[in-house]
C-alpha cells in the first residue's frame, strides 16, 4: 500500500518537472509536436544554450522518475515486491523503460545540451553500481529482481549518456526478454513455496521445479551476459564497448565492468540460494500450460534475442543498429587506440566468470562463513545499510515525510483563521461591554446623559 503511494508520488515529482519542461519547450519553440520540437530546437537554439540545458534537464527528471534512477529510484523495489509477478514483469520489462525511450526519442535535445547528456551517463553509471550492490544484499526474491531492473536501466542510461542511442534501445529490448523470464520464474518459485519470498528459506529447488531452474539459468545467464549464447551479452557488450569508444571518461567503462561483476554475483547468489544445496522442504509444483508456454517462449528469446544485431550480409553491419539508423544517429567519433571491441568483451567475460566463481565460493561452499561475517557487528551494519538501499528511504523520510507530517499535525487548524477569530473576539468584547451599560438603572443613564452634555458643552465652549 505504501509502495503504491511512494511509486505514485516519486514518479509524479519527475512528471511535474517534465511538465515544466514541456511548458518551456512550448514557450520557447511554439510547438509540442516531437518532430517539430527537435527540428526547431536545432534551428533556434545554439548548442549548450540555457534553454536547451534547462529543457533537457527537466525531461531528464521525468525520465529519472519513470525509470527509477538516482535520486528518484526508491519507489521501484516496493512497487515490484508487492503485486503479482505478472504485473511486475510488465512493469519491469516495458513500463519503467519508458524513461529510456523518452531520452532516446528526444535525443537531439540532449545532444544540444552536452552537459546534461554527461549527467545522464553519470546518473546511469551511479545507479547501476548502487542498485547492483543493493541487489546483492536483498533476501526477497522479487526485490533482487527489482534492484536488478534498476541496475540494468542504469546501463541503458549510461548508453544514452555516451551517445550510444541504438545500443540503449537494443539493451531495452533484450532486457525485456530476460527480465520477464526471471520474473515469471520467480512467480513459479514463490507459488511452489506457498508465498514465501525469502531466498534464505529456500534451497534445492532444482529438482522439484526444474522449469523455474531452467528459467533462472537462462535468464540469469542472459542478465549477466554470458558470451555468444545469450541475448544480454550482445546488448551489454555493445554498451560497454561504446562507453569506451565514444571517447567519454574511461570511468564509465570501468563502472560498467564493475557492474558486470556485481550482476553475476547477485544473480548467482540468488540461483545458488534457491536451487542448490539441500532441499529445505518438499514442494510440489504443477505449472499450467499457458505459463509453460510463456516461459519456453521467453527462454527462446532470452537466448536468440541478441542475434538481431548480428550482421547477416557481408559489409552490411549490425542489423538492429542499422534499422534504427534513420532515427537514432550512430555514436560520435570513435576513440582511437586503447581497447578494441574484442578486448573489452574478453574483460567482461573474465569478470563474469570471476563473479560466478566468487558467488560459488561465498554463497555455496562457504555460505556459513560468509553469513557469519554478515552477522558480526560491522558486517551487520553494512549489510543493513545496503539492504536498505544505501539509506535513501531513511534520508527521504527525515527530509520530506516527517517534516510534512509534523507541520500537518500542528497546522491542522487554519492559522489565517486565527486573525479573524481575534477580530470576532474583539467585536464580541465590545458588544458585551456596551450591552452592560444597558443595565436598566435610571441613575447610571442619567449620569451618562449628564456627562455627555458636559463634554459636548465643554467642546463647544472651548472653541
Amino acid at each position: 500500500m505504501d509502495g503504491a503511494r511512494k511509486a505514485f508520488l516519486l514518479t509524479r515529482v519527475g512528471d511535474t518537472a517534465m511538465m515544466v519542461g514541456f511548458l518551456l519547450l512550448y514557450t520557447g519553440l511554439g510547438t509540442l509536436n516531437i518532430a517539430g520540437v527537435l527540428a526547431r530546437a536545432q534551428a533556434q537554439w545554439p548548442v549548450g544554450s540555457a534553454s536547451a540545458v534547462a529543457a533537457s534537464l527537466l525531461l531528464l527528471a521525468g525520465a529519472v522518475g519513470k525509470s527509477a534512477q538516482l535520486p528518484l529510484q526508491t519507489w521501484l523495489p516496493d512497487a515490484m515486491a508487492g503485486p503479482t509477478p505478472t504485473s511486475a514483469l510488465i512493469h519491469a520489462a516495458t513500463m519503467v523503460t519508458a524513461g529510456v525511450y523518452l531520452i532516446a526519442r528526444m535525443h537531439t535535445l540532449f545532444e544540444w545540451a552536452p552537459a546534461v547528456q554527461l549527467l545522464v551517463a553519470i546518473v546511469g553509471a551511479a545507479t547501476l553500481l548502487l542498485a547492483g550492490i543493493s541487489a546483492l544484499f536483498q533476501s526477497d526474491i522479487k526485490r533482487i529482481l527489482a534492484y536488478s531492473t534498476m541496475s540494468q536501466i542504469g546501463y541503458m542510461f549510461l548508453a544514452l549518456g555516451v551517445g550510444a542511442w541504438s545500443a540503449a534501445i537494443f539493451h531495452l529490448v533484450t532486457h525485456a526478454f530476460f527480465k520477464a523470464l526471471l520474473f515469471l520464474g520467480a512467480g513459479v518459485v514463490i507459488e511452489a513455496m506457498h508465498d514465501e519470498h525469502d531466498i534464505a528459506k529456500m534451497g534445492g529447488l532444482r529438482r522439484r521445479v526444474p522449469l523455474a531452474f531452467a528459467a533462472f539459468l537462462i535468464g540469469g545467464a542472459a542478465l549477466a551476459g554470458l558470451p555468444i549464447v545469450t541475448s544480454g551479452f550482445y546488448s551489454k557488450d555493445l554498451i560497454l564497448w561504446q562507453s569506451w569508444a565514444t571517447g567519454g571518461s574511461p570511468l564509465f567503462w570501468v563502472a560498467g565492468m564493475i557492474g558486470v561483476l556485481l550482476t553475476s554475483l547477485y544473480i548467482m547468489r540468488l540461483i545458488f540460494y534457491v536451487f542448490a544445496g539441500p532441499e529445505r522442504e518438499r514442494v510440489e509444483q504443477k505449472v499450467h500450460w499457458p505459463m509453460r508456454t510463456a516461459i519456453y517462449l521467453l527462454c527462446f528469446f532470452a537466448i536468440v534475442g541478441g542475434f538481431i544485431n548480428l550482421s547477416y550480409r557481408p559489409r552490411q553491419g549490425p542489423t538492429f543498429t542499422n534499422f534504427l539508423q534513420g532515427v537514432l544517429p550512430a555514436p560520435r567519433a570513435l576513440r582511437e587506440g586503447g581497447l578494441t571491441e574484442l578486448t573489452s568483451g574478453l574483460v567482461s567475460a573474465a569478470l563474469l566468470l570471476v563473479g560466478v566463481w566468487l558467488a560459488y565460493w561465498a554463497f555455496l561452499r562457504k555460505r556459513a562463513t560468509v553469513e557469519g561475517w554478515a552477522e558480526s557487528p560491522p558486517g551487520r551494519s553494512l549489510h543493513d545499510f545496503w539492504k536498505a538501499d544505501w539509506g535513501f528511504d531513511w534520508l527521504y523520510e527525515r527530509l520530506f515525510v516527517f517534516p510534512v507530517l509534523w507541520l500537518a499535525r500542528i497546522g491542522r487548524a487554519d492559522v489565517v483563521d486565527a486573525f479573524f477569530a481575534v477580530v470576532a473576539f474583539i467585536m464580541r468584547y465590545f458588544c458585551r461591554s456596551l450591552s452592560q451599560t444597558q443595565s436598566g438603572r435610571l441613575r447610571s443613564y442619567a449620569a451618562g446623559v449628564a456627562l455627555g452634555a458636559v463634554i459636548l458643552l465643554t467642546l463647544v465652549l472651548w472653541r
Binding site: 500500500m1 511538465m19 515544466v20 511548458l23 491542522r412 486573525f419
Partner: protein, 500 residues
C-alpha cells in the same frame, strides 16, 4: 429565451415551495423538472449558435435590455456569451445533481429546502447573465440569503457558526462592491455626464487614475472572498463542511465560480491598467493559495473539510490563470472552473454518501471501504485522480493551460505552482487510501451506491472525461468572449491549435 433561462429557477422555486404543501415528492419532482428544462433550454441555445459562430466584435449571443429605473440609468439587461453559457450549463447541471442527492438526505421542510435551493440557483444564473451592474449587485446578494438558510437549517453539528461566518464574509465584501459600483457610476458620470450602470458603457471608462484603482479593490474584495483567495478563504472550510451535501455541491461547484466569473467579466475588462499593476501581487496570492490549500487539505482528518481545502488550492490555479492575463491562462481558468465544479462537486457527493451511511466524516473512522462498496471506491478514485490533475480528465486540461499561460507571464510563478500538482497528489492519495484502501479494521459495512447516486456520479465522470479528452468544444464556445478580455497576447496559429 434568455428571460426563460433567467426566470425558470425562480418560478421553479415558488412552485416547489408551494407544492410541498401537497406532497414532498411532488416538490422534488417539480424542482427536477424545472432544472432539466433549464438545462435543455441552454443546450438548445448552444446548439443554435454552433453554426453561426459570431464574427469577432459581435458581443452577445442573446440579449434582453429593458429600462428599469430610468432616472438612475438602471436597466434590466441580461446578456449571454460563451462564458456565461458554459457556466449556466454547469449551474443547471449541478442543480439537478443537488436535487437528486438530496432525495433521501433531506426529510424535513422539503418545500422550503427546494425553495432555497432553487433561489440560490436563480441567483447564480442571474449573476452569469447580468449585464447591468445594479442588477448584478441585486442578484449577487440574492444568492446569499437562501444559501445561509441552507447551511443554517439543514447543516451538520456546527452549522450556525458556519452559516454566520459565511454570511458575514460575503456580506461585508459584497458591501464593498456596492460602494465600488456606485463610485464607478459617479466616475463615469464625471467623465461623460451620464448616469449608467450598463456593463457595455462602463467598460470603456477610463479607470487608470488612483480612484479607479480603489474602485477596483472594492470589486476585487467581493470576488476574492467568493473565489476564495488566501487570506480571506477561512469561511470556506467551515461552510463547506457544515452544509448539507447539496449545499456543499452548490458552494464548491457554483458560488466559488461566481467570484472567478466576476473577475473575468468585470475586473479585467473595466480595469485593465489597475489589474496590470496588481497582477504580480494577485499571482503571489494565487500561488500561496495553491500550496497552502493543498497543504491544509492534507492536514485535515475530516473528509469534507479536506475536500473543501482542495477547492482553495484549485481556485488558486484559477486566480493564477485570471491574472496571468493571456489567452492560454484565461481559457485554462474557465476550463478549470468547469472541471473543478464537476470533480469537487462529485467528491462532495461521495463525502455525503459516506457520511450518510457511516455517520462520520472522520477519515480515521474509515478504511477498507473498497471491499464493501467497490463501485463507490472506483468512482471516488476516478474523481480524485481528476482532482489531482491526471491527464485525460478535466482538471488537467485547465491546469495545463493555466500553467502554460502563467509560464509565459512569469516562469517563477508557474514553477512554484506546479509544485501544487505534487502536493495535490499527496492529499488525493490520502483520501483514497485512508477511506477506501487498507484493511477494514472496524468491519464497516455500507451499502454501495444506489442507482440514482451512481447515475449522477457517472454523468459527472463522463463530463470530466469529455473535458479531459475533447476540450475543443468548450474552448470553441469561449472564442468570442475570452479574447475580448484585454490585454491579450497574440496567439500564433499553431498555438491555438495546440491549446485545443
Amino acid at each position: 429565451m434568455i428571460l426563460a433561462i433567467f426566470l425558470l429557477p425562480i418560478a421553479g422555486a415558488l412552485l416547489a415551495g408551494a407544492a410541498a404543501r401537497v406532497s414532498a415528492p411532488l416538490s422534488r419532482w417539480l424542482s427536477l423538472l424545472v432544472l432539466c428544462a433549464g438545462l435543455v433550454l441552454t443546450l438548445v441555445v448552444w446548439s443554435g449558435h454552433q453554426a453561426t459562430l459570431w464574427a469577432p466584435g459581435a458581443s452577445w449571443m442573446l440579449e434582453l435590455d429593458r429600462p428599469w429605473l430610468p432616472l438612475l440609468g438602471v436597466h434590466f439587461h441580461l446578456a449571454m456569451d460563451g462564458l456565461s453559457l458554459l457556466l449556466i450549463l454547469l449551474t443547471y447541471f449541478l442543480g439537478i445533481v443537488s436535487v437528486l442527492i438530496s432525495w433521501r438526505e433531506i426529510r424535513e421542510r422539503v418545500g422550503f429546502f427546494h425553495l432555497c435551493l432553487l433561489f440560490v440557483l436563480a441567483g447564480v444564473v442571474a449573476v452569469f447573465l447580468a449585464a447591468d451592474l445594479f442588477l448584478f449587485y441585486f442578484v449577487w446578494e440574492l444568492m446569499l440569503v437562501p444559501m445561509y438558510f441552507l447551511i443554517a437549517i439543514w447543516g451538520h453539528e456546527n452549522r450556525r457558526y458556519a452559516a454566520i461566518k459565511f454570511f458575514i464574509f460575503t456580506q461585508a465584501s459584497g458591501l464593498l462592491m456596492l460602494v465600488a459600483i456606485l463610485a464607478l457610476t459617479f466616475l463615469h458620470y464625471r467623465l461623460t455626464g451620464v448616469y449608467t450602470f450598463q456593463y457595455n458603457e462602463l467598460v470603456g471608462t477610463r479607470t487608470g487614475s488612483p480612484t479607479g484603482s480603489w474602485i477596483m479593490l472594492g470589486f476585487l474584495a467581493a470576488f476574492a472572498v467568493k473565489l476564495p483567495a488566501v487570506p480571506v478563504h477561512t469561511w470556506l472550510p467551515d461552510a463547506h463542511t457544515e452544509a448539507p451535501t447539496a449545499g456543499s455541491v452548490l458552494l464548491a461547484g457554483l458560488l466559488l465560480k461566481t467570484g472567478a466569473y466576476g473577475m473575468l467579466r468585470f475586473v479585467l475588462p473595466i480595469f485593465p491598467e489597475g489589474t496590470a499593476k496588481l497582477a504580480t501581487l494577485m499571482m503571489v496570492l494565487a500561488v500561496i493559495g495553491i500550496l497552502y490549500g493543498a497543504f491544509m487539505a492534507f492536514a485535515q482528518t475530516d473528509i469534507k473539510r479536506l475536500v473543501a481545502y482542495t477547492s482553495v488550492s484549485h481556485m488558486g490555479f484559477v486566480l493564477l490563470g485570471i491574472f496571468a492575463r493571456n489567452e492560454f491562462a484565461l481559457r485554462g481558468a474557465v476550463v478549470q472552473m468547469l472541471a473543478h465544479g464537476l470533480s469537487t462537486g462529485a467528491l462532495f457527493v461521495v463525502a455525503g454518501i459516506v457520511q450518510a451511511r457511516l455517520h462520520t466524516r472522520e477519515l480515521g473512522g474509515m478504511g477498507g471501504l473498497w471491499t464493501t462498496a467497490p463501485l463507490l471506491g472506483g468512482l471516488t478514485l476516478a474523481f480524485v485522480m481528476s482532482s489531482v490533475g491526471l491527464p485525460g480528465l478535466g482538471d488537467f486540461v485547465g491546469e495545463f493551460l493555466i500553467l502554460l499561460g502563467a509560464y509565459q507571464r512569469s516562469i517563477g510563478f508557474a514553477v512554484v505552482a506546479t509544485l501544487g500538482m505534487i502536493a495535490a497528489l499527496v492529499y488525493g492519495l490520502k483520501v483514497v487510501q485512508d477511506a477506501f484502501h487498507g484493511p477494514n479494521l472496524r468491519r464497516l459495512r455500507m451499502r454501495d451506491v444506489l442507482p440514482h447516486e451512481g447515475a449522477v456520479l457517472l454523468v459527472m465522470l463522463a463530463g470530466l472525461i469529455c473535458i479531459g479528452l475533447y476540450p475543443r468544444r468548450l474552448l470553441h464556445a469561449l472564442d468570442p468572449s475570452v479574447p475580448s478580455l484585454p490585454p491579450a497576447t497574440v496567439m500564433s496559429d499553431t498555438g491555438a491549435r495546440a491549446a485545443r
